[in-house]
Amino acid sequence: MSTISTDSGHGGPAQDERPYHEQYHAAHHFRNRDHEFDAVKMGVWLFLATEILLFSGMFCAYAVFRMLHPEAFINGSHYLDVEYGLINTLVLLLSSYTVAAGVRCAQVGDLRGLKRNILITLVCGVAFLAIKGIFEYGPKAMQGKLPGVFFSYPNAHDPNEPLWWGVYWVATGIHASHVIVGIGLFIWLYLRANKKHFGPRHYTAVEGVGLYWHIVDIVWIFLFPMLYLIH
């Protein structure tokens, strides 16, 4: 939908010198940019609803298994490092702030600020994955704290611990895959911001990706206490 209206037939200048976000009209089936912005924003919100439902299935499974095997889950959460979970929570909270600040920068036309904020968010996303991978996933995999049949940790206290690790790996893994998608989106946003695609009258993509990133954050805000904090 990022087409520039060139065949509008109003006899405009052949070479339009205005930046992209000034030239941008709207996709042909929308009346104007605001109309398009409203529609896209509604679409993103609906998409976020599907994300919430996707994760709610995971939360539901967590609740059921916690009820079935409380000891395994209480014991399991003691294996997790609250420090790294907390650091990652702070990293994501910071990125949520910067992405919101980025939308504001786009609204007021501060392209340098926008790029800076996108970059910080991007780094936060990578940092989250790095901390998770290096300090949590890696050591746990080495110790055999893996889901299901791959579980080989010798000092397990409860026969149902493989199931706990199944829930842990699947829940955080799906979340991590969302973070990876988010990083890809921020690279795309950065490249477009570099080409001066965004401005006060056209920042739909920044807003949409920002909303997506917030939901990735919120899911973690729920995963963190569920997995790390409830003993």
Binding site: L68, G148, V167
Partner: protein, 586 residues
């Protein structure tokens, strides 16, 4: 009404005036144009073709199942005397093939045919036209949804080519997570269903936003054709229910690949959780299947009885009520596997669905009352829907009643019930809808005589096939069995003969459609004298951007008493006589 300038008047000014079907160039250019199009009409047509091909495949599987049951392997003095259609290595091999073909029929018909059937084909084509939009809100997402549908179908077909799965379309665990251990067939099939879910979500999301944001000026919520309301209700369910089956199938794939154990009791998991998850999606999706059928019904009934739909708001709101209630009744699929309290609650909630469904049926019947009914093929299908859906719906009440269901659970009564709803409802409405909008989609009329003959075969064949299944189900014939005791022979034989009648009926329809494409009469812009925008504001087939100008809506979609249909010859659709002073029109 400013309709005149939007009609192609013989000579095209430029490519903007040409029908959307006009080729853009040579053969390859046209192929590439269709493959990369973001035009909702072309995507709808491509979906229609794909769905009909899949319907044929699923139908062949159904015929094979019926052939097996026509005369299953029989025993005589300890030896096998007949080994029927679905042969294999020995008796067990033959039964396994039966299970695979039966599963194939279910999977194809549910995931590849009925769920996308009406929304993705007719819905895609008609929804923007009906609300006066140039396209759906996200045209590229729409194209993506089409390719995702193809991609997911490929995985499903891959699973079939590798030998098929025998889990039943419901993939119940732990059987589905432990069977077929050395092969990847179940994984491919489940992955296919998972991917198809995205296609479904994208279509639904697109439609919800389109209805909210792209209605033409003058078209309020209650000026929309009821088709749009039905599709809207289904789209809401698609968006909100499909993610849950997404996580379910994802967990199942992990379960198969890594044995994480969430659904495996041997590893501490809970197979009933799978059933809850699965039906939390798959029950609402039953209404994704039926609501678009009901959407078509409202149009067919109103247009072919030339009468304002009775109780517009009741029909519209009942679509939303069905969508809402659909989310709280999934437990009636688990009457035998959940506790008694849950079962009683879900039984009570299930009865609620009957209310909005009945509201629709009664309103359609009231619309027929004193209408000038025109028994064209679409109307014949609409009346069939009323008949068959009523049977299917009422038997659903039996099954929702807890005590009765424990008797009828997993018998052919269930099979007959959901075929009366899914096929007698959705597919019948779908075929009726294809006939009604065929001229608009392809610019040509179909042969009315032969289409009616086809309808007669389908209607009779359907009842011959499925009514005996009610009887044998109530007598205890279990579903999904490849064999049965002799008492059930007569019912199975009748049922199989019915399936042949159905085959003949659908082949006649296929012939009628192909004949129409090759040699059909050119269609006028509005052959049925309908009043919705796709008929009144476009030519025989719509132009690429649907309308030359954004249409301004000046009358309701069913105001047959007050508005002469444009583009029709004088006298073709006469206005009713004026009413005497003080009289009310119903």
């Amino acid at each position: 009404m400013s309709t005149i300038e939007s009609l192609p008047t013989g000579h095209a000014h430029d490519h903007h005036d040409a029908s959307y079907l006009t080729p853009k160039g040579g053969f390859w250019t046209t192929i590439i144009d269709w493959a990369t199009t973001v035009d909702h009409k072309k995507i709808g047509v491509m979906y229609l073709v794909a769905i009909l091909v899949m319907f044929f495949l699923g139908g062949v599987a159904a015929l094979a199942v019926r052939m097996e049951l026509f005369a299953p392997t029989a025993f005589e003095a300890g030896g096998v005397i007949k080994n029927q259609v679905l042969t294999g290595d020995g008796l067990a091999g033959g039964y396994q093939n039966y299970n695979r073909v039966m599963t194939l029929h279910g999977l194809i018909m549910v995931f590849l045919v009925i769920v996308p059937s009406v929304p993705a084909s007719l819905g895609n084509f008609l929804l923007p036209l009906m609300i006066g939009a140039k396209d759906v809100a996200f045209p590229r997402l729409n194209l993506a949804s089409w390719y995702i549908y193809l991609f997911g179908s490929m995985f499903a077909i891959l699973a079939v080519l590798l030998g098929g799965v025998d889990t039943g379309w419901t993939f119940y665990t732990p059987y589905s997570t432990t069977t077929d251990a050395e092969y990847w067939r179940v994984v491919w099939m489940v992955l296919g269903a998972f991917i198809l879910g995205f296609s479904s979500i994208f279509t639904g999301l697109n439609f919800v936003v389109t209805v909210h944001k792209l209605r033409a000026p003058g078209m309020g919520w209650f000026d929309m054709p009821l088709f749009v309301w039905g599709i809207y209700g289904a789209a809401v369910i698609q968006v909100l229910a499909t993610p849950v089956v997404g996580i379910t199938l994802l967990l199942m794939i992990f379960e198969r690949l890594f044995r994480v154990g969430v659904f495996d009791p041997a590893l501490g998991g809970d197979p009933v959780l799978f059933q809850h998850f699965f039906w939390f999606y798959s029950h609402p999706v039953v209404y994704v299947m039926i609501l678009p059928g009901m959407a078509i019904m409202s149009e067919l009934i109103a247009v072919f009885s030339r009468k304002k739909i009775f109780g517009y708001r009741a029909v519209a709101f009942s679509s939303l009520a069905i969508a809402g209630i659909s989310f709280i009744v999934w437990g009636h699929h688990l009457f035998t596997s959940q506790g008694p309290v849950g079962a009683a609650v879900f039984s009570a909630l299930t009865f609620l669905v009957a209310i909005p469904s009945a509201v629709k049926v009664f309103n359609w019947i009231a619309t027929l009352y004193k209408g000038s009914i025109d028994l064209k093929t679409p109307m014949l299908y609409a009346l069939s829907f009323l008949f068959l859906f009523s049977i299917g719906g009422l038997t659903g009440i039996y099954l929702g009643a807890l005590s009765v269901d424990l008797q009828l659970h997993d018998t052919y009564f269930i099979v007959a019930h959901f075929h009366y709803v899914m096929m007698g409802g959705t597919i019948i409405a779908f075929v009726g809808g294809i006939h009604m909008w065929w001229p608009k989609m392809f610019g040509r009329m179909y042969n009315e005589f032969w289409a009616r003959i086809g309808w007669a075969f389908v209607f009779v064949g359907f009842n011959v096939t499925f009514f005996p299944q009610f009887i044998m189900g109530s007598q205890g014939m279990p579903r999904r069995y490849a064999d049965y005791v002799d008492e059930f022979t007569i019912y199975h034989v009748i049922s199989t003969v019915g399936s042949w009648l159905l085959l003949v009926g659908f082949l006649i329809h296929l012939f009628v459609f192909l004949h129409s494409l090759v040699a059909g009469k050119k269609a006028p812009p509005n052959p049925w004298g309908a009043l919705t925008l796709e008929w009144t504001h476009t030519g025989p087939t719509p132009i690429e951007h649907n309308f030359h100008h954004e249409p301004v809506v000046t009358h309701g979609p069913y105001d047959y008493d007050d508005v002469p249909p444009p583009q029709t010859r004088p006298g073709e659709f006469p206005m009713p006589d004026p009413l005497p002073e003080g009289a009310e029109r119903h």
